[in-house]
Structures are given as structure tokens and as C-alpha cells.
């Protein structure tokens, strides 16, 4: 009996170690920065880039800063638990890096007024909650231009994650610019209802390819759609969130790269200096928060030049990807000739532009 009790105790201890091992000890003299990730740091996309930002913070401040992170945190009640735990363990600044963490972040921030929170891609702030996001749609405009030129079947497949403004903006921006260079182009959109599920993303890509798409755009986090495009042959795709350069000799012709490191360093510095204030940051290609990965030789030189010219004009502020005349899907007027979309409309975008088929899930 005794031996068994010891063994059971050992098993329980093992289980505890396994679930609790991710928590490092806290040191009160250091500034502690926490990161909550929606996927694994090795996803090769979204979470990978946030983690690169975390590593940049560590490198920049050395011993003055301690970082902790928890990966694979589901959006919802679990996220609230993880953030609370981080705050209790003495984090001074917590980055919550997915749209679905918005309400949990606000809830936890209320309970810990001294802890600073930074929520990515959301729109709710509080005295101790900032939001930050990148203008991915600027990159989407460049992608759309390339996609419109490159498609031969005139069918572009688009894998959406969730029908939220960020994703819808991307679809609209890509469509507007694909249509501009190729009036015959159509978009087939599939909603995966996940940020990260390689098998499902691969299935979605395969389905789109089977239905005639020869360009795949994705707004999900893994490299699986590119792998599916590689397997199909004659299909091109783009790196999402990260460069995904490992597919450069295959289907990947360019990419949108999220560069969070400068922002993370700046905000951590603000906390150390005591100058942190709640803000809403929304930066694009110009300030360098959105990067365009190298355009490969698969893309003809003139298309590449056109895409790069578009990128430069967006970066310099000469051109806005949402410039009128533009109509909404139902045919009603949205932007008059030369008018550009304001940030408020963009932040809450819940409609397709004219020409896109299908409905946005409500």
C-alpha cells in the first residue's frame, strides 16, 4: 500500500510539474513583461513573429527585463485565467496578441489597475489598456496586385479565419487591387473559423484549388496552405504574418511580414521610464510595422516593379489603399472619387466592396 501511495504521489507531482512548469520565478526588481499567444511559437507565422518581438525586447534590455509567455491560449475564459495568473506573478506589462483576447484583457485590466496591458488588433481601451495593430491591408493591396496579374484561371482563393473587421479589410484591399489590374478576377472565400489548424487550413486550400483557384491568399497563421499549394503545383501563395521564406523556391511569391519588435521595445521602455500612457497605435508599411517579403522571380519583372511602386506610394502616404470611387457590395456608394476611408470605418469594417460574391457571416 505504501509503495502505491508514493507512486501515486509521484504521478500527481509529475502532472503538476508538467502543467505548471511554464511559470518562471518572479523577480521584483526587474520589469516583467508577459506575452499571451494564441498559437505555438513555432507556427512559422503570427505567433512566431510576436515571439521574435519578445526576444528583441530581451536582447534590447538584457537583465533589466524579464519576459514570460504562455502559448496556445484559447480565446475566452482560459485567456482571462492566464492573464490573471501573469498579473498575480508580478508582470508589469502584458501583451495579449489575438483579437479574441479583447474582452478578457479589459476584464483583467480592471482587476489590476497598476499593470499595463497592450491588446493587439482590438478596439477597446482603458486607462491601463492600449491597443496596437498593423495596417495589414496595405500589404494586402500589394498582394492583390500581384495576385490579379498572376492568376490565369482568374479565380483567387482566400482562406479567412474569423469574419472580423481586420480580416474583411484584408479581403477588400486585396480584391480592389486585384480587380484594378485584372477586371475578370473573382474571389472564392472560405472561412476556416480558426487562427491555427494546419490540417483544416490545408483542406481549405485544397478545396479552393480543386475549385479552380490558382492563387491562394490566407489569413490564418500556419504554413499549411503553402504546403498544399506546393503539393498541387502551378499554384502560388503568400507568406502570412511571417516571411515563410522556406517556401520561396516553391509557391511563395511574396509575403506580409509583421514586425512587432520596435513597438514592443518602445512600450517596454515607456513602462521602465514610467511614461507609459494608454494609446491606440495603428502603423503600416511607412513606419515599418508591416513589411513586404522579397518578391521572387516567379513574378514577371514588370509586375514586381508595379507592386513595389504601389508599396512605396503607400509607405510615403501618397496613396491610400481605400481610395474612391468605391461602392459597397450592395451597390450603395461608399467613397466618392478621390476620397479615402477614415480609420473609424476601417476599424469597424463589416461589409464587402462591390464585386465580391457571397455574404459575410454575421
Amino acid at each position: 500500500m505504501k509503495r502505491r501511495q508514493i507512486m501515486t504521489g509521484a504521478a500527481t507531482a509529475l502532472a503538476l510539474v508538467l502543467s505548471g512548469g511554464a511559470w518562471a520565478e518572479s523577480h521584483s526588481d526587474k520589469t516583467k513583461v508577459g506575452f499571451v499567444y494564441v498559437g505555438p511559437v513555432g507556427d512559422g507565422g503570427w505567433t512566431y513573429e510576436h515571439n521574435q518581438g519578445r526576444l528583441a525586447v530581451e536582447k534590447e534590455f538584457g537583465d533589466a527585463v524579464e519576459t514570460v509567455f504562455v502559448e496556445n491560449v484559447p480565446e475566452g475564459a482560459d485567456a482571462e485565467r492566464v492573464m490573471t495568473q501573469m498579473a498575480l506573478e508580478g508582470a508589469d506589462l502584458i501583451f495579449t496578441t489575438s483579437f479574441g483576447y479583447m474582452d478578457p484583457t479589459i476584464n483583467v485590466a480592471k482587476k489590476f489597475p497598476k499593470v499595463k496591458f497592450e491588446h493587439a488588433t482590438g478596439y477597446k481601451t482603458a486607462p491601463n489598456v492600449s491597443t496596437y495593430s498593423a495596417r495589414f491591408y496595405e500589404g494586402r493591396a500589394v498582394q492583390g496586385t500581384i495576385a490579379g496579374h498572376m492568376t490565369e484561371s482568374n479565380v483567387v482563393g482566400y482562406i479567412g479565419s474569423f469574419p472580423i473587421p481586420e480580416v474583411i479589410r484584408g479581403i477588400n484591399a486585396a480584391y480592389i487591387h486585384a480587380k484594378k489590374v485584372n477586371p475578370d478576377v473573382t474571389f472564392k472565400i472560405v472561412w476556416a473559423y480558426t487562427w491555427f489548424d494546419p490540417a483544416k487550413e490545408a483542406d481549405a486550400a485544397k478545396v479552393l484549388i480543386e475549385q479552380g483557384a490558382d492563387v491562394i491568399l490566407q489569413h490564418t497563421d500556419s504554413t499549411a496552405p503553402l504546403a498544399a499549394a506546393a503539393a498541387a503545383g502551378n499554384v502560388i501563395g503568400f507568406g502570412q504574418a511571417s516571411d515563410m521564406a522556406e517556401f520561396a523556391d516553391g509557391p511563395r511569391v511574396s509575403s506580409i511580414i509583421d514586425n512587432w519588435a520596435p513597438y514592443y521595445i518602445q512600450r517596454t521602455k515607456a513602462v521602465i521610464d514610467g511614461t507609459w500612457e494608454s494609446a491606440m497605435t495603428w502603423d503600416g508599411i511607412g513606419p515599418g510595422m508591416v513589411g513586404i517579403g522579397e518578391i521572387t522571380d516567379k513574378v514577371p519583372a514588370e509586375v514586381k516593379a508595379e507592386a513595389l511602386a504601389l508599396k512605396d506610394s503607400i509607405a510615403s502616404g501618397d496613396y491610400h489603399p481605400f481610395t474612391g470611387p468605391l461602392k459597397k457590395q450592395d451597390g450603395s456608394d461608399w467613397l466618392a472619387e478621390g476620397e479615402t476611408a477614415d480609420d473609424g470605418t476601417l476599424a469597424g469594417m463589416n461589409f464587402y466592396v462591390e464585386g465580391i460574391e457571397g455574404d459575410i457571416p454575421q
Partner: protein, 306 residues
Amino acid sequence: MDLSAINPALLLASLMVAATPILLAAIGELVTEKSGVLNLGVEGMMITGAICGFAATIETGSPAIGFVAAAVGGALLSLLFAFLTQFALANQVASGLALTLFGLGLSSLLGQDYVGLKPPSTPQLDIPILSDLPVLGQILFRHDMMVYFALALVAAVWAALKFTRVGLILRAVGESHDAAHALGYKVVRIRVLAIMFGGACAGLGGAYISLIRVPQWTEGMTAGAGWIALALVVFASWKPWRVLLGAYLFGGVTVLQLNLQAAGLAIPVEYLSMSPYLITILVLVIMSSDRSKAPASLGRIFHASQ
């Protein structure tokens, strides 16, 4: 809406591919549960199998060796569970959950060097006459070996459980370990073997995702397939053919709903998204109204002294 864009033959063919990982994992878990052990670590064993198979394939260039390595990897991990539950007599639910957490962590550690690599493609079976049949050939006879292996495994498990002495002993252990013990059967040994079989099958299922369905290695890439497999066993009332039906139904509706979305069907996407779960549960629950029961000793701890 343009339903003509959907090619039924391609749809049926991709259905079989989509269903194979959960089918493999579920049939393994069925055997484990038939022996009276509830192993909730399927997800952990799958992801471990996925990286073991992937790594072995990259290193040797042979997908066949990869699948063997995946089975061995899954079985080895399940030995940890077997040790905890059969010798240390730990709680099976807690140990199974711990196994999943452990497997996810272990796989990302093992997979550090394999992110972004491309595995050699697994050859598709090419049967001279059958593969060239107009429609049937495309649906049934142009898959990789594992699709057929999974089908054969279901048949073998069904036959073994129903007709053989081994199956009878396994079921006896699962129904009443005390009676089986009194008859002189080695309850613990049989259960350890059943757990290892479950681990090997889960490993194969995981490797199918990383080597064929996706194919690449990404952390956490099974993304819950193990839990689907677990649920499938219960809803299939521990019957092999119903597991097959459930897996194909789930895989089929998953692929179909994506196809319908791409074709622009006017059904709200939310309903399409939940349809695989809903339809699979509904069909299997209706079928299980014949009061089939779980193995009576499922999840109970056995020790010869008690």
C-alpha cells in the same frame, strides 16, 4: 452559387484523406478502451507520432520508415501512461491529460530542427487497371497505402474482437478485470499491450497529418484531432464499423462544408462550420440507441490484491 464547381469524385477522394488520421487514432483508442483503460492522451500521442514520423522521414527519405517510427514513438509515449496507470495505479483521467500536455511539449522540443522542411512525398498506390477506372478509380484506387491500411485495420480489429480468442480475452479484461484475473489472465500485461496498440495507432494517425495531409511539421499541428477521435469512440459505442462510419462522416462533412463555402452556398457559414460535429454526433447517437454499453471496467483501477 455554383455547385457545378464541386467535383464529386474529388470530394469523395479527399473525404477519405481527411478521415484517415482520426480513424487511425480512434480505432487504437477503441482497443485500449475495450481492455478497460481510458487513455485521454490520444492528442499527445498523435502529435508525438507526427513529429517522430516526420523526423524519421526527413532523415531516411523513406515515408515507410517514417510511419514505423511514428508507431514506435506513439507506443513508447503510451508506455509512460501504462506505467503511471497500471503500475503506479494513478488516476487514468489525470494521467491521460498529463500525457497530452507532455506530448505537446515533447513534440515541439523534438521538432525544433524540422520546422519548414518538406518531406518526400508518399507514393500513391497505382493499381494498373483499377486506378484507371473512370470515376471509381479516382475515388477509391488512387490513394496512399495508409488509407487502405486504416480500412484494413478496422476490419482486423473487428474480426479480432468478434471471432478470436485474443479478442475474447481483451473484452473479458475490459468487462470485469477481477473475473479475468481469477481465471488466470494477466490483466496488467494485457492492458499494457492494449495501451501500446492505442499509442501506435495514434502515432500513425499523427504521422498521416504531418506526412500526407498537410504535409509539413508545425507545432501543435494535430489541433484537437485526438479529442475528436476520443469522442468518436464513445459515440460509436465501442464498435469498429461505427468508428469507421463516424470518421468518414466527420471527414466527409468537413470537406463538404468547405466545398459548399467555396461554391458560395447560401447557408450561413456558422452552420456549415458546426455541421461536421453536429451530423456525426446525431447519426451515431441515433445508432447507439440500441443500448450498447461501455466496457464495464472502463477507467477502473485494477490491482491483484483488491
